[in-house]
């Protein structure tokens, strides 16, 4: 079963097209990264998933149903812009959101208490939120998204504003939710988080999809970067598409940035050099990061 389907979805605000003919689907289970720069259309797409905004055309499905508040009992949502009722206590806030999602008072209370303990907020359960630090408030907000043990957890820029320690806590919670069977969709423009968490990902630029697939497939969008130090010019070696000298030669040795031809592996080139006496002092292979892929695909978009 698919957790989420977007089919040719378009959303315009006046003359501006925020989401342009966007189609993708997310299977149930796992962590799905929804990547894009500022203004790429991530938040608009998330709002359409939650029925906060309606598309101008196209179709969405959440857990097999059209977006609606009726899905709230099975959905958890952490918005990008965060805030809470300052004068409510931690416990009451989490219970309130649990009840808005259709939980009974008792069930919401039990779940809220467990989450408060899990997030290390036990000492502040009865404290009003205006007395908490920003990091603790964000934990509370995360708890409001998790209180109903959602089948689908949508996190819009979840790591923004968190210090490294709390980012680690959040990553752990995301992994736990996924391990518990939930589908996690999170939007971000910080590629390191996507790299660490997501099984599959989608890259968005100016409202359009520019890539959808696994991390390996994303990296395959860019050829690996090879850097070697040799006495001779490597550009005539088999499988080398291009070799550019970098920096000045020292004692007869020159550094080269080598681009491999399609369908050629760096290991084959290394074997060829060794077998044919092509002198090498260094042979470094750099796999492209998601950041490189992002810049390659989105930077030029």
């Amino acid at each position: 079963m698919t957790a989420l389907v977007l089919d040719r979805v378009v959303k315009r605000f006046g003359d501006f097209t925020a989401v342009d003919d966007l189609s993708f689907s997310v299977p149930e289970g796992g962590v799905f990264g929804f990547l894009g720069g500022n203004g790429a259309g991530k938040t608009t797409s998330v709002r359409m998933m939650l029925d906060i905004l309606r598309p101008d055309s196209g179709r969405l499905e959440i857990l097999g149903r059209p977006p609606a508040r009726a899905n709230a009992p099975q959905v958890g949502f952490l918005p990008e812009e965060r805030g809470l009722y300052r004068l409510m206590t931690v416990l009451d806030t989490i219970i309130y959101f649990g009840r808005l999602k259709g939980m009974s008072a008792a069930a919401a209370g039990r779940s809220a208490t467990a989450l408060i303990e899990r997030l290390g907020l036990g000492a502040w359960a009865k404290t009003t939120l205006d007395k908490l630090s920003k990091g603790m408030s964000q934990k509370v907000q995360l708890a409001t998204a998790l209180v109903n043990a959602p089948r689908l957890l949508i996190l819009d820029e979840p790591f923004s504003g968190l210090d490294p320690v709390n980012q680690g806590v959040l990553e752990e919670l995301v992994r736990e939710a996924a391990a518990g069977g939930a589908t996690v969709i999170f939007s971000t423009h910080v590629m390191q988080h996507a790299e660490r968490l997501s099984d599959r990902l989608l890259l968005l630029a100016h409202g359009r999809k520019v890539f959808e697939g696994t991390q390996a497939e994303a990296r395959a969008q860019l050829p690996p970067r090879l850097q070697l130090t040799a006495q001779a010019d490597p550009s005539r070696l088999p499988g080398v598409a291009r070799a550019v000298a970098s920096g000045a030669a020292r004692d007869g040795w020159q550094e080269w940035d080598v681009t491999l031809a399609p369908r050629h592996e760096a290991a084959d080139l290394l074997q060829h050099c060794t077998a044919n006496g092509f002198a090498l002092r260094s042979f470094d292979l750099y796999r492209p990061s998601l950041h490189d892929v992002f810049l390659h695909l989105v930077g030029g978009a």
Partner: protein, 487 residues
Amino acid sequence: MNRILLVARRDFLQIISTRAFKITLLIVPLMLGLVTFGTSFLRPPPTVAYVIADAGGKVASVIEHRVELDYQRQVMRDLSAYAARWKLPPPEGGEDGYQADDAVVERFIARGGVDGALGRMRPPASATAFKPQPPPYLRVAVPEGVPAAQGVETFGRAIAPYLANDIETPQGKRPLAVAVYVPARGPLRLWTNGRNGNSLIDMIQQERTRLLRLALLTESGVPPAAAARIEAMEAPVAVSAPPTGGGRSQMMVRSIVPLALVYLLLTAALVTGGMMLQGVIEERSNRLLEAVLACVEPRELMIGKLIGLGAVGLTIVAAWIGCALLAAFSIDGAVADYLRPSLAALNQPWMIPVLAFYFFCGYLVLAMLYLTIGSLSNSMQDAQAYLMPVTMSIIVPVFMMMSGVIRNPGSLLPRVMSWIPLYTPFAMLARLGSGVTGVEILGTGLLLVIFLTVELMLLGRVFRASLLNTGQPPKLGAFLKLMLRRN
């Protein structure tokens, strides 16, 4: 509990936990306390004592009788006002105290005074008890040790210390205001404490003058009976007072509760509207609306907030009315004197539902305005730009209308404003005590319901469309577009 009620409950609990709410609750009890406390200063001064040393033995009883007659005349006036307030017959069969001459007052005393009159008037159980004010002057015996038969100077020296202090009376210690020495022959002599008793001195002087004139007439050969008639004669003056059970004062009594409701409506709506405004702005500026809107439809959020605010308003009004009823039925004083007959005037079966209808609709009209302003504003500073014109356009006409109703309930302005839906609740509430037709109630009520429905629909669109906007509040053109946009 459905989502609307959850939103309503949360908003209600949040507002009632604020300091502003608690202060608002105290407004009416404080006002009632101040009125009760303040009017206690307007009460007649306590009784003061006077002594008379009458060498001839003829003047003292005359003065004492005159003091008593004047006091009983004042009691008759107060009793007449009490009778008018409770729609009872006047104390002395048509005489209402204003024009009561000595003969009528004598008759009043002879028929049992206050107790006799109250027995004949039979006030209802709901009426406040009539308490006659205490007599201003009380004659006491000349203190022992003050010689009354050793001449005026001796008397004067002996009484002087008593004038400087209180003197023992049957009612406890009281200031000695006046001491009178009446010699067998020669002029009457008075000593005062300089603080109380001016009216007593005037009274004694007039009474003394009357006796002298009477004696002079008799000495001049006028038969004593004729002399007494001449002396008692007073120029006829007709005093017209509002008829019992009607007139302006009675109209005001009937209008106290409806007029008070106008003030309550205005105050409760403005105060709680301001609280809700702050709440919505907090939700917008804290960016927490998106998380709420993921669970709750904007329409549900709007209705929930209106219900929550309505519950806050009802709590405030219930607390205020409770305090007023407590003051009316448990504490005697000026508040009870006016509130009880005013409440008793709500004797028509349709009055209370009609009052409640206009109050509820008026509250809802204003609450929706405030909710919309909150949804348009990113900060209280933004809200002020809308708030000032909206609030002034309500307060100024309503106060003009109120003063019009108090001057003349049938005047044009209140009647016209009754048909302008924004002002209908205020104008109709204000006029209900002074008489409105059934056609006006039905017509203005229907118009108000239609207005409220259209307001909820159009401003509801603005509310929904503005909730997640983060830019500048819309200008008039954009605002109108939001109202007319269906989706």
